[in-house]
Amino acid sequence: MPELLAPAGDFEKLEFAFLYGADAVYFGGQNYSLRANAKNFSNEEIKSATQYAHKLNKKVYVTVNIVFHNADLKGIDEYLIYLDKINVDGIIASDILIIKRVKKLGLKLHLCLSTQASVLNKKAVDFWKKLGVKRIVLAREASRKEIKLIKERGIEVETFIHGAMCTSFSGKCVLSNYMTLRDSNRGGCAQICRWNFLIDGKPDLTIMPKDLNMLPFIKDEIDLKIDSFKIEGRMRSIYYVATVILCYRRIIDAAIKDELTIGLEKYYLNILNRCANRESTPQFYDKLPGVNEQYFDGRIEVSNQDFLGLVIDYDEVNKLAIVESRNYFKIGDEVQFFGPDMETFNYKINKIYNDDFEEIEASRHPKKIVKIPINKRLSKNTMMRIKAFDKNDFL
């Protein structure tokens, strides 16, 4: 069974990732991590996160994956020793100095080589393995054939299965540095590959890839005995984390039981694409990506307001879901409730009460607490979204 590895931009996202089915999460500390714009975790929070995960029998991996400049070396030993001491389950690094220092310091940290290292062949794997690397996070450019050969090397293999793609090989791009002086290899990527380039007398050049989704090949990757399936997106919302993790949890479980049908795949694909506001494809796994794997009309993401509310409690006596609103909804709306311990179900809202138990027509303000009569008991942290797709239509 492959590990389902989720992004956790902060502690709340970590909790939702675990709740919705992740086996492990990855996140960065305040320094040395490639998502400098995420909230990231203080040392104390890393410790709490590790303890929290271990109580659930789950794992945490800490990214220490910047490409270091001379001045960044200060304090790194203390940080690595700290991570080792609090028993994080692994670190994800791209710079050889981290691998070497961990060995030199005699730490037991499980070393994962970041995708920044762009590993695509067995001999590169052997190089890193000899240095003590236990897991390789493969380049997102790796094809099935390349993955299969590398897996035969007797090393843990982690592959990305969902999320945004870089246009370049990871680590092989400094467009952001050139345009904005924000260092992409030290956490400041300004995503220049999503901008339009002008060419004289021709249409704008766009090089933006669609997202990655490995949905059609999950079973195949399970058969290849991939050790960890990684979801990209430390900057994403709890709604995104919950939705994507739950979809893949169910896809993986169904694939293992040989119950993943084309209909189910289509259903989940629709949900995943809508949640990200972008289209997605398997990218490099089965072919060299072409026209269909890119966007050519600039940035086409249209933000939707699908996430309507978060169930924060359930009133057993009055059969009411207590919901913290996230987006506008009103009486008559067709919604869906989904969560980790239940089947997603459709619901037409026929009454909404405010805090004072007065009937209201609509919930108009984010974070407003409202009550919705519903006979089914709902767990805390169940989510309510716009009903965009009905599973039954795909079965």
């Binding site: 400098a36 714009n37 490409v67 270091f68 001379n70 960044d72 070396l73 710079d95 050889i96 100095l97 070497k100 920044q116 762009s118 695509l120 062949n121 067995k122 001999k123 590169a124 190089f127 890193w128 450019e141 094809s143 054939k145 390349e146 050969l149 246009t167 370049s168 090989f169 791009c173 400094v174 467009l175 540095n177 050139y178 345009m179 002086l181 924000r182 260092d183 290899n185 030290r186 956490g187 400041g188 220049i192 590959c193 901008w195 339009n196 380039f197 002008l198 060419i199 249409p203 050049l205 090089i207 890839p209 490099f284 060299l288 990506p289 072409g290 026209v291 794997e293 890119q294 050519f296």
Partner: protein
């Protein structure tokens, strides 16, 4: 050891370059490079060979055969993919690791120097950072003092896809821009490279010590400008930029306000 490493940018210039003192020629190897318009068969190479793309196992097997064919003629190799290390371990040639954006501190470079004769220092760095690396490096390093600055390397065929989508005739070596920044884009069947249009000029670093080679990457320069550059360090006809030499990049987005 000859001090100038010069990328060969045309077949016609080879004899002229050979006549210049202190020059080692670096030939981009056909099927193993991205971002070079002029590529060379192994039989044409009698000096150093450039292998600058990320390789899979099939590529490595093929590269091994190709390099064996060139045994005796090849004097050195500049390569990007760490997988190459294994297939060249028994070749008696100079081994230089080109990590592009990843050779940015002295400690990592010193670790890599345990496996190779030299490492190319990243040109994403400030002058001060480069000097510190050279001072603390345990072997001489390759310093890129002039050349097209690689900004991005993709395995995708970005120009092919663009032309196909818009139903345009394919044209390589496109020039594109965002605001006042200009780019040169080169594609071949193995991927696409984006360069800064202006050449990176770090000739002011020529006097630095602990340098194995000063690398002049003359990709896409015409013959006249190339020879002036190599003979006299003359760049008067070439649009140049010092890029990051005097502009430090920012560690975190939050640092913009700091």
């Amino acid at each position: 050891m000859k001090k100038k490493l010069v990328t060969v940018n045309s077949k016609e210039i080879i004899n002229d370059l050979r006549e210049i003192d202190n020059v080692t020629l670096l030939y981009p190897l056909k099927s193993f490079c991205v971002g070079n318009e002029v590529l060379f068969e192994i039989e044409e190479i009698d000096d150093f060979v450039l292998v600058n793309r990320i390789l899979d196992d099939e590529d490595l097997d093929l590269l091994k055969k190709v390099l064996n064919k060139g045994k005796g003629n090849i004097k050195g190799i500049v390569f990007d993919d760490l997988g190459v290390l294994d297939i060249i371990k028994d070749l008696n040639i100079v081994k230089i690791l080109l990590l592009d954006h990843l050779a940015t501190n002295y400690e990592s470079i010193n670790y890599y120097l345990e496996y190779v004769d030299s490492v190319v220092v990243s040109n994403d760095l400030t002058e001060e950072e480069i000097k510190e690396i050279l001072n603390k490096s345990k072997k001489g390093l390759v310093l890129n003092v002039f050349g097209l600055k690689t900004l991005m390397y993709s395995r995708r065929l970005l120009l092919t896809n663009y032309n196909k989508f818009h139903n345009l005739e394919f044209k390589n070596n496109e020039v594109a821009s965002i605001e006042n920044k200009k780019f040169r884009i080169i594609e071949n069947e193995y991927g696409t490279k984006f360069y800064a249009l202006k050449y990176y000029n770090a000739l002011k670093l020529l006097e630095l010590e602990n340098v194995f080679f000063y690398w002049y990457d003359t990709t896409l320069l015409n013959k006249e400008d190339t020879l002036k550059l190599i003979k006299e360090n003359n760049v008067e006809n070439i649009e140049c930029d010092e890029l990051f030499l005097n502009k430090a990049t920012i560690y975190k987005v939050g640092d913009i306000d700091a």
